[in-house]
Amino acid sequence: MSAPGESGREALNRVWAQPRGWRYFSEVNNTAVGLWYLAAGLGFFAVAGVLALLMRLQLAWPWMGFLGPEAYNQVFTMHGTIMMVVFAVPIMEAVAVYVLPQMLGVRDLPFPRLSSYGFWCYLLGGLLLLSSFLFGPVPNGGWFMYTPLSGPEYTPGLNTDFWLLGLTFIEISAVAACIELIVGIMKTRAPGMSLDRMPILGWAFLTVAVMILFAFPPLLLGDVLLEAERVLDWPFFDAGRGGDPLLWQHLFWFFGHPEVYIIFLPGAAMVSTILPTFCGRPLVGHQWVVVATIATGILSFGLWVHHMFAAGIPLLSLSLFSAASMAVAIPSGIQVFAWLATLWGARPRWDTPFLFVIGFLVIFVIGGLTGVMVASVPFDWQVTDTHFVVAHFHYVLIGGAIFPLFGALTYWFPLPSGRLMDETVGKWSFWLMFVGFNVTFFPLHVLGLLGMPRRVYTYPGGLGWEWLNLTATIGAFVLGAGVAVFFANLAWSWKRGRPAGHDPWKAGTLEWAGPTPLTDSGGASVPRVRSLHPLWDQPAEMAAAARGEALMCRPTTHGRETLRVSAVSAEPQQVIQVSGPGWSQVAAAAATAVMFGAGTFHLWGVAAAGGVVTLALLTRWAWHSDRQPPMARVDIGQGIVVPTYAADHSSHAWWAAVVAVLFDGAAYLALLSAYVFLWLVNPVWPPPPWEGRIALGDILAGGGMLAVAAVLAHAGAGLHRRGRHWALPAGLGGAVAVAVAVAWTGLSTLTAADLGPTRHAFPATVWVMALYTLVHLGVATLLALLVLARQAAGLVTPVRRMTVMMTVLAWDFAAFTGLASMAMLVLWPATGGGGGICTW
């Protein structure tokens, strides 16, 4: 559908044109948002890198007076936190947002506005965390924030609050990326790119997104519980009142260990992308590398206790985690052998990206070997929390992620800039980084064995640590110089680099199909893919696609659109209209920032106002979603006709809803696990004062009403689908009424039971479970009201019913988790011998 006389390409350029001037920041397209993400990530990297240099200066010699203990503790906390949470994971998401759509051959991911909202939350959350340097109470509990040190008694200032709220804010971006990547990779690929033809990078980001889905919710729960302990004095981690400091460690490391692989897997995938290009041949054992990627992702969830080998946990439990930790080395081995086999006799080209890949291989193998060492329980008793571990994980993370990332930045630099980075300067930056890295971190292995712990701001002389530390400090500045040279090269080459032209590296994947720099629309048409390396195996077709002679060579629904395909075999299913520029995501992020910023300072009124505004903006956003273009079916070329709207279980929107519910469900499972954990560590559960506080009848009645609410929502939606328009208000209205009744009776029952959440971890946990259900009933109610309003406005029909499906899902989830909580409270303690909370 173009204006009269307009060619397909002109129409594409019009609808995909990026706004100019300050309006540029209203853009939501991945080629803009991905770049901002990358720039912000590198900015935070630079900050954390400077913090690292400050630490190395302080440790250069015994008793240095450069940083005092408090300053040093703040610096190492912020270095770790920024590197892990504000740099490493987001920069990988940034690469995914920028490169994946091009590599998968589509114009954009399915939810650009969500990506953009995620970016703004990330940027503002990172700045909130950094702003603690302005206000003074810089987080100082280490990036792992162990309780009770980080709790209200030992850190009464706002230090921990900055960390907890800053991270929670940033996690919004992780959730957004997780939804965007899972749905994007599974549902928006070029036709014909079945999963077996999907590049490793796609597999890695799919795995990583699924890992985020299950790893981040426990941290989120931990954040909420710790903030509740700090603000409300609910003693989840206080051993004196039935809590347990180890609960925090379990929640944190259930996130913290997969986190490392969330960073490493994309790095490895970048290697699997760059290496074949420079060797001019496909990756040997592609399918085994896919297997290794998936296996690493899942095995990494069986490793979390290996951060707690010295905590006094029974040896048998430790041994299980030791076995899993050794097992995870096998998939890494698969990848290393696949790379070696690909290199074998390939006579590769030695450009900078390839140098970074080789540097990666050397460093990562060392990091992997020390990783096997620390997987050994008894050896880890010696080296855990020493500089040996510092050396190990910097070998894995800098070697496994930073070197591939810098290689990848050099490799993909032509896509946004149309230019190549300077080769000579690039080689300088590589060698400075490679030498500096090893000089910095190799001596730390020895220091750890000589007894130097981590997180010490100084150390006495005479222990044999002086010269190794001095060497490491000198190395750190060489490494820093290498990074600075790399950044200078980025800046200089952006405008002045040699023009890259078409496919400068002779790569085989789709992001290089068109000209550089990328056009705003991301390509003149969408190709049909028949190979893992389309540019190598079907060059003529790809050239035709680049000329606009394949699919979707003009906008068929007036707006920006991308193609939805079937998840496995990538058959075209639907043309999706995606969002264009606008400010609602920026405004929503700003309101969210007010909420978290004010919350950090415990200004609850302002925070609540920010929350209400955020909710209002999100509602407005939701109001304009679930669009149904006027034409029901469109021809996207080559005789392929697809619908423009679908509300079924293959729809991208439904997938997104399911992913969101899985995330929420993972948080709920973490909550249940916390409940079971506290039950196991307490000798009597519930403790005697809480026995028989609630009548069983009250609980059964509450559970019954929850079930009724879900059934009503289902019935209303089902009848509405069959054309009974009245059924929707009746069903959803009934569900809302029942929810109000449940909330009312539940709250009055709990209040009457006088549980006293500050007295013990048991009543505090019961309250959290109750509040969880109440919040979810609230969300379900809001969604129901939104759907009813949309119906009144004619935006919901028996066909256009995606919002109805999502609302019913929310009711199901609220009812299901509420029932599970009640069952837990009633049944679980009874099996432990003690009396339950209920009077039977």
Binding site: P69, N73, Y146, P148, L149, Y154, A239, G240, D244, P245, L246, V284, G285, A310, A311, G312, L315, S319, S322, A323, M326, A329, G333, I334, F337, L340, W344, G345, A346, R347, P348, I358, V362, V365, I366, L369, T370, V372, M373, S376, V377, P378, F379, W381, Q382, V383, D385, L449, L450, G451, M452, P453, R455, V456, T458, Y459, P460, G462, L463, V681
Partner: protein, 301 residues
């Protein structure tokens, strides 16, 4: 090296060091092989890539090596954790921000930042947290074991022969985590027995007038609100027990040698030495008064 994990004096630490040397040998071999393959692959003349079978071969070798290591490491862990048979000496160590209280419950001895053990006898060290999480680590004697509030832990070691070993907190525990060290002195059993009897006794009487003046100043300046000196009115429980402070090797939790000079310096301005520690600055004394208190304390052997 006082604090090295490779200079060991118990069968337990010995096993851990043995594990290290074994894994180092394996790792060097693996690294050499991988680097040789990498170099060969990069340098050789152009040829078609090998089939996927090589990956399988590599993975097979990895599985065998790792499996063997896992079995060995698990067995070593079980052996080390079990300790050795015999009638164990029980010592209690309470970690506090940022020092260690050491108790010998059977003998009534209480001291700080120094543990003495008899050579040749199994020891059970009960590890108790007094506030936040700490970790007890004497690399020459054993691996780390955390002190977790609500979870008393037990560490079993058997010091083999006399020697002095430095230990240090292994888990980040706040401002002065870095300067939370202690000494472990392994003595011949007879020396140890004598020492333990002495530690159980009340403080010695002042040897001279200067020391007597020091004791009077100590008691009149409020030091007893935090410190205990058995045999005097000082019975505070906040800071270390000073009854036999003059017999210890270090002050300030293993960071300075103990002598009359460092004691005086610590009293007058410990915040300059160990910023953030719980002891306030006592800068109200005259030079002579400070010297008197330090002299008395240094004489409490």
């Amino acid at each position: 090296m006082l604090q090295s994990a490779l200079r060991t004096a118990t069968p337990q630490a010995e096993s851990l060091a043995g594990l290290w040397w074994l894994m180092l040998g394996l790792s060097v071999a693996v690294f050499a092989v991988v680097m040789a393959l990498l170099a060969a692959g990069l340098l050789m003349p152009r040829r078609p890539p090998p089939g996927e079978r090589v990956i399988m071969v590599g993975v097979g070798v990895t599985v065998v090596v790792l499996g063997g290591l896992l079995v060995h490491s698990t067995l070593v862990g079980a052996r080390v954790a079990a300790g050795t048979d015999g009638d164990p000496l029980r010592v209690e160590v309470v970690g506090r921000q940022w020092w260690w209280e050491v108790r010998y419950p059977q003998d009534g001895a209480v001291l700080a930042n120094e543990i003495r053990l008899p050579a040749g006898r199994p020891v059970e060290i009960a590890l108790i947290s007094g506030d936040v999480i700490h970790s007890f680590w004497v690399p020459g004697l054993a691996g780390k074991m955390d002190l977790v509030p609500g979870h008393p832990n037990l560490l079993r070691i058997t010091p083999a022969e006399p020697g002095v070993f430095r230990g240090q907190c292994g888990e980040y525990c706040g401002t002065q985590h870095a300067l939370m060290a202690f000494m472990v002195v392994v003595q011949p059993p007879a020396d140890f027995a004598r020492w333990l009897v002495g530690q159980g006794e009340p403080a010695a009487e002042p040897a001279d007038g200067l020391a007597a003046r020091g004791r009077a100043l100590f008691l009149s300046s409020g030091c007893g609100a935090c410190h205990t000196v058995r045999g005097t009115a000082a019975d505070g429980r906040v800071g270390p027990d000073l009854t036999h402070v003059g017999s210890r090797l270090t002050i300030g939790a293993g960071i300075l040698p103990q002598n009359v000079g460092t004691l005086g310096g610590w009293i007058a301005n410990s915040q300059a030495i160990k910023p953030g520690n719980a002891m306030p600055v006592f800068d109200q004394f005259s030079g002579g008064e400070l010297r008197a208190i330090a002299t008395w304390l240094a004489g409490l052997e």
